[in-house]
């Protein structure tokens, strides 16, 4: 009923392809997050769904209707903006009542519905205030309330949490997820923050340079990235990328870079020659083993529960390992390390995944 489908959606600004022939189907009730670095086309995509930008080519379907050239007001959407876009000249009450009044809801119902939604979002005491006097979190809730009050079928959110401080942002993530469960409407959420995408999405859509690079559930994106861009975009700290070669050594295949020669587990066929190996910091282990490589600790960054250890193994870029905070490591220590063989992934020189 309120599924959203994009078909070959394209937007040109002058001659740059802001959005490049995107196909995406969002089933009814899904929480999908469009994520990517700034300028990747995610906001433009959202604006086209909302009708605020006209696509250069392609189609947008909401439910059964092709809405490509509909005015925004006819699309029955709710949208929360990065700046929240509360109307500064209206009180909180009037802000929330705005969409109802536009739709000519009788004034008695307006009051009741505003009151109800204000209760549920816990902003009832603020109704008479002006937006300028609200705190960041309060303004956030007003913006949500204003969107919920008309019960749209699809919610569009353009980095709605970016104006909040770190702690509130984490709280609001939970809040939004709960809201999604309550409303069971379709959510399309845009962010550049991979942590937001990971924590909230049913499905993540990774965008870069106007294209979709990968779609899938968060853990799949994290564990099985489609290419080097996706691999590097998710995870803090980022995945380690080691440039080297796959060489044959007897019956074994080994990866060779600087002082490093880990054995590769599965029989690999197509890969020979220059390759980039990717391994996440949590899959680098300190300690001796059959295949251990020598390294020196050059820097440590304690995170509290865990510690990041920067290892010099002879290459220009250090390797980052995430180890338990109990493990006492000091700068200058000589610590050999191993890589979890089942978690190594490989990319060709263009950044494509080698399987």
């Amino acid at each position: 009923m309120a599924a959203v489908r994009l078909e070959g959606l394209t937007k040109l600004f002058a001659s740059t392809r802001a959005v490049d022939a995107i196909d995406l189907a969002v089933p009814d009730g899904e929480f999908v997050v469009l994520v990517g670095p700034s300028g990747c086309g995610k906001t433009t995509t959202l604006n086209m769904i909302a009708g605020l930008e006209t696509p250069t080519a392609g189609d947008i379907w909401i439910g059964e209707a092709r809405v490509t050239d509909w005015e925004p007001r006819d699309r029955n959407l709710g949208m929360v903006f990065q700046s929240l876009a509360l109307f500064p000249h209206l009180s909180v009450f009037d802000n929330i009542a705005f969409p109802l009044r536009i739709k000519k809801v009788p004034e008695a119902d307006v009051a009741a519905r505003v009151q109800a939604v204000a209760e549920t979002t816990r902003i009832a005491p603020l109704l008479r205030k002006r937006p300028a006097t609200l705190s960041g979190g309060e303004a956030q809730r007003v913006a949500l309330a204003r969107t919920i009050v008309v019960k749209p079928a699809v919610f569009l959110m353009d980095e709605p949490l970016s104006s909040l401080d770190a702690k509130l942002r984490v709280e609001m993530r939970t809040e939004l997820k709960r809201l999604h469960a309550q409303l069971s409407a379709t959510f399309i959420y845009v962010t550049h923050d991979q942590a937001e995408a990971m924590t909230m999405a049913d499905r993540i859509v990774v965008m870069h340079q106007g294209r979709i690079h990968q779609m899938g559930p968060p853990l799949q994106i994290y564990a099985d990235p489609a290419n080097r861009f996706v691999a590097g975009f998710f995870g803090v700290p980022a995945m380690n990328f080691l440039d080297g070669e796959v060489v044959a050594e007897g019956s074994d295949l080994r990866f060779s870079a600087a002082g490093l020669r880990p054995k590769l587990p599965a029989p690999r066929t197509a890969t020979r020659g220059p390759t980039t190996l990717g391994v996440r910091p949590e899959h680098v282990r300190l300690g001796d083993g059959a295949d251990a490589s020598p390294a020196t600790v050059s820097l440590i960054e304690p995170l509290g529960d865990e510690t990041l250890v920067f290892l010099d193994y002879g290459a220009p870029v250090s390797l980052v390992a995430k180890v338990d905070a109990e493990d006492k490591v000091a700068v200058g220590d000589r610590r050999p390390f191993t890589l979890r063989p089942d978690r190594l992934i490989f990319f060709d020189s263009a950044g494509g995944r080698l399987r």
């Binding site: 029955n76 749209p152 409407a185």
Partner: protein, 345 residues
């Protein structure tokens, strides 16, 4: 929020099949194909299309300019190639004389003098206004007792109708008038300058009127400019050990460039139009000693009825002024671009 025991949203907020609160997309779709609204809504919906909507205000504005300016520009050129006076029948019957009017204009000493005089007035009045306005603005920069009163009073002249200013000064400057009286008191001896009938003094009177009225404007522009100076660069310079003079010269003055550009462009643009003061103070006299371009052209057209000559002169003036306008617009564009670049970090 937390508080997971009680449901944060009422059941009404849940989506239920056939929920009347939600107009489904399908309903919207039928609404579009079968509007059932009045024809006004239909027209509005059409006008609302972006490609229509964005041109709505352009139609009347461009229409107005096309209606007023285009025929006049053509007429101006056409008239200048004729030999026509208002008193001699209809203009479309006037004889075509080619470039005669232009040659006449370039050989007309009174016209050339008027042009030179106008630029001369501007060359004296504009720098004076800029310096005075800037100096006064600097004096009023930091808060002190009475600052509000001063700034309020200083802005008064620019709010007075220029014709009234001309008239007012014509009262003050009569031979036995209050201005001479004040000068006498200050000098300690009787002073009787004939401000409105002496060749040099009359010029000073016209320049004086312009300076009196428009220093208010340069003052206002500079006060706003100084108030808008960003604080951090100035503080940074102070921390780096710059003294007041260095800060002024190397930090504040460059930052003030856009504002200075406004003042220069605006005042020199207006100074070339001087009309009201000579008309009301001296009517261009004595002799032609205060006759500016605008005054002379006006006389050509109306007192002497030599329309074609006036048109030719207007065209010559337009060419001269175009050069100036071209430069002025370039300066404004450049400064605006720079400001935009500064604003975007």
């Amino acid at each position: 929020m937390g508080g997971s025991e009680r449901p944060p949203y009422p059941p009404g907020a849940r989506r239920a099949p056939g929920d009347p609160g939600r107009s489904s997309i399908d309903a919207q779709a039928t609404c579009r194909t079968n509007p059932g609204r009045s024809w006004i809504d239909g027209v509005l919906a059409r006008l609302e299309r972006e490609r229509v909507f964005k041109w709505l205000p352009f139609v009347p504005v461009q229409g107005l300019f096309a209606l007023l300016l285009l025929p006049n520009a053509l007429l101006l050129v056409y008239l200048s190639f004729l030999s026509w006076r208002i008193t001699r029948g209809a203009w479309w019957n006037a004889p075509f004389t080619g470039l005669d009017s232009f040659l006449g204009a370039l050989g007309d000493e009174r016209f050339l003098w008027a042009v030179g005089r106008t630029f001369g007035f501007a060359a004296v009045a504009v720098p004076l206004e800029l310096l005075l306005g800037f100096g006064l603005a600097l004096l009023c920069r930091e808060p002190f007792r009475g600052r509000r009163i001063y700034t309020t009073v200083f802005l008064l002249p620019m709010m007075i109708v220029p014709a009234v200013v001309g008239y007012d000064l014509s009262m003050l400057l009569i031979d036995q008038g209050p201005f001479n009286q004040v000068l006498s008191v200050l000098a300690g001896r009787p002073i009787t300058v004939r401000w409105l009938s002496d060749y040099t003094a009359a010029k000073l009177a016209v320049i004086g009127a312009d300076v009196w009225q428009w220093t208010a404007l340069t003052f206002l522009v500079f006060v706003s400019g100084l108030a808008g100076l960003p604080r951090d660069p100035i503080r940074a310079a102070r921390v780096m050990g710059a003294n007041r003079w260095q800060i002024f010269w190397h930090v504040e003055l460059p930052l003030l460039k856009p504002v200075i550009a406004i003042a220069v462009v605006l005042r020199s643009m207006e100074a070339l139009k001087i009309f009201d003061y000579p008309m009301l103070l001296t009517q261009g006299g004595p002799g032609n000693s205060t006759e500016t371009i605008a005054v002379y052209l006006w006389r050509m057209g109306w007192e002497f009825a030599r329309v074609s000559d006036a048109a030719a002169m207007s065209l010559i003036l337009l060419v001269v002024v175009s050069v100036y306008i071209f430069i002025a617009i370039r300066v404004l564009r450049r400064e605006r671009r720079r400001l935009a670049e500064e604003a975007a970090p």
